[in-house]
Amino acid sequence: MGGFITAFLFPITLFLLFFTAPFGLWPRDIAAYRTFTTLWQGPLVRLFFFVLIGGSLFHGTHRLKFMLVDAGLKGPGIQAVLDIILNAIAIFGSLGALYYALRGWLFF
């Protein structure tokens, strides 16, 4: 699931936010404060970023776990610690994204 979100939505998002302006590839600077705050008013945009951040965090930490295990970080004790740390990053990151997505839109 996270893989689908990442594969379909990330490239265009990163491209527009971080690479169009420096290389002059777009008529507007989408990431500029004025432009982005206007976009950020829309609930769809907020939902989009929440899904993007949540999806990429879960997907990426999952892949990181496999890479580390593959590199030799094995054993039941290490596995448990790895699971806790990586899941914590994904969960707290997603909650953070949820917080910022709702902030200024709900009552806070």
Partner: protein, 130 residues
């Protein structure tokens, strides 16, 4: 001396011995980098809520040449991850309507078209059009 088996240890550079292993590692690295970008986007939202100067400082940092070029490399890995993901879909979960599952190249092609379509939708629905 009693006969015993020899157990060799896998070398740390195993993934360099074969171009397909290298492609696999790059694919996995791309996956991990998406998590990194997830955190970067999170930070961006945090700076946004901190106000204009904090946000603009963040953006300027991302666009400074060394950081920008590192970003280009990381972005390339993310794109590679996406492309290999589309290749895997056809192979990983056979989609079958008739006697044979759809050939993976066809599924890959369909996914690429979907990708372009979804990206276009994102441009218009999220980022305010061209």
């Amino acid at each position: 001396m009693a006969a015993h088996e020899y157990h060799s240890k896998r070398s740390a550079g195993w993934w360099l011995r074969n171009p397909r292993y290298l492609m696999f590692q790059l694919r996995e690295a791309g996956g991990v980098i998406t998590a990194l970008y997830g955190l970067i986007l999170l930070n961006m939202l945090q700076q946004l809520s901190n106000g204009e100067s904090a946000y603009t400082a963040f953006l300027s940092l991302m666009r400074t040449p060394p950081v920008l070029y590192v970003n280009v490399i990381l972005f390339a890995l993310v794109v590679w991850h996406a492309i290999t993901w589309f290749m895997l879909i056809g192979k990983a979960q056979p989609i079958q309507f008739t006697e044979r599952p759809l050939p993976w190249k066809l599924v890959f092609g369909i996914n690429l078209l979907l990708w372009i379509g979804v990206s276009g939708a994102v441009v218009y629905l999220i980022f305010g059009g061209f």
